[in-house]
């Protein structure tokens, strides 16, 4: 059963700490997305990769957020330093070429 796997599922951290979220996309999918979901903004696209190359990260605060794909089986989203306003659920999704995106279960981040 192919699925997008995200770790950790939950993360509580103190303000100023580094947070790294990981995603294993579905094998064979060449596009990977990072979304953030909050009550205030809904689902926002932060960044996406195609064939491991970043195509658009305009939705991401560049000063503290970074997204990478070290290889085809791993995507990471890093926040350094984290702030309370970063508290949200972060979703990773993957898609085949011009196909629908399949979402992971999300990482619920709380920054205190």
């Amino acid at each position: 059963d192919a699925r997008v796997t995200q770790t950790p599922r939950h993360k509580v951290t103190e303000m100023g700490q580094e947070v790294t979220m990981r995603c294993q996309p579905i094998l064979g999918h060449n596009t990977v997305f990072w979304y953030r979901q909050t009550m205030m903004q809904g689902l926002e696209l932060l960044a996406y990769f195609r064939n491991r190359a970043p195509l658009d990260d305009s939705g991401m605060p560049k000063d503290r957020f970074s997204a990478e794909m070290p290889d085809a089986t791993l995507a990471t989203l890093k926040i350094q330093p984290s702030e309370p306003r970063d508290s949200a659920v972060y979703f990773c999704a993957s898609a085949p070429d011009r196909g629908s995106a399949f979402f992971g279960q999300g990482t619920r981040l709380t920054v205190v």
Partner: protein, 113 residues
């Protein structure tokens, strides 16, 4: 204190009735649309998609209708069941942007047993 957030449209239907969830999209260049279902504590789940060369597509108990003239999308759920209670999102993909999808605010569906 008072919580502030998105004002999600809500829809309550009786179990067994049909549900219709609407979505207005913004970009006339969008040519691929997807409906997602998100249950509490889970990620959005693909339900059905439609490309702009079609007006209607049917799945199991679900039908998506696309009206390009008024940039409107609807999801019809037949014989709604309690398990259909969730937030439903439409997502649009603009032509020649690869797989970049933009999501609407969502509609919260509650099925009354």
């Amino acid at each position: 204190g008072e919580s502030v957030g998105l004002h999600l449209p809500t829809l309550s239907v009786q179990e067994g009735d049909n549900s219709i969830i609407n979505c207005a999209y913004s970009n006339s260049a969008s040519d691929y649309f997807i409906w997602y279902k998100q249950e509490s504590g889970k990620g959005p789940q693909f339900i059905i998609d439609i490309r702009s060369n079609m007006d209607k597509r049917q799945g199991q108990r679900v039908t998506v209708l696309l009206n390009k003239t008024v940039k409107h999308l609807s999801l019809q759920i037949a014989a709604t069941q309690p398990g259909d209670s969730a937030v439903y999102f439409c997502a649009e993909n603009k032509k020649n942007t690869g797989n970049q999808f933009y999501f609407g605010t969502g509609t919260s569906l509650t099925v009354i047993p």
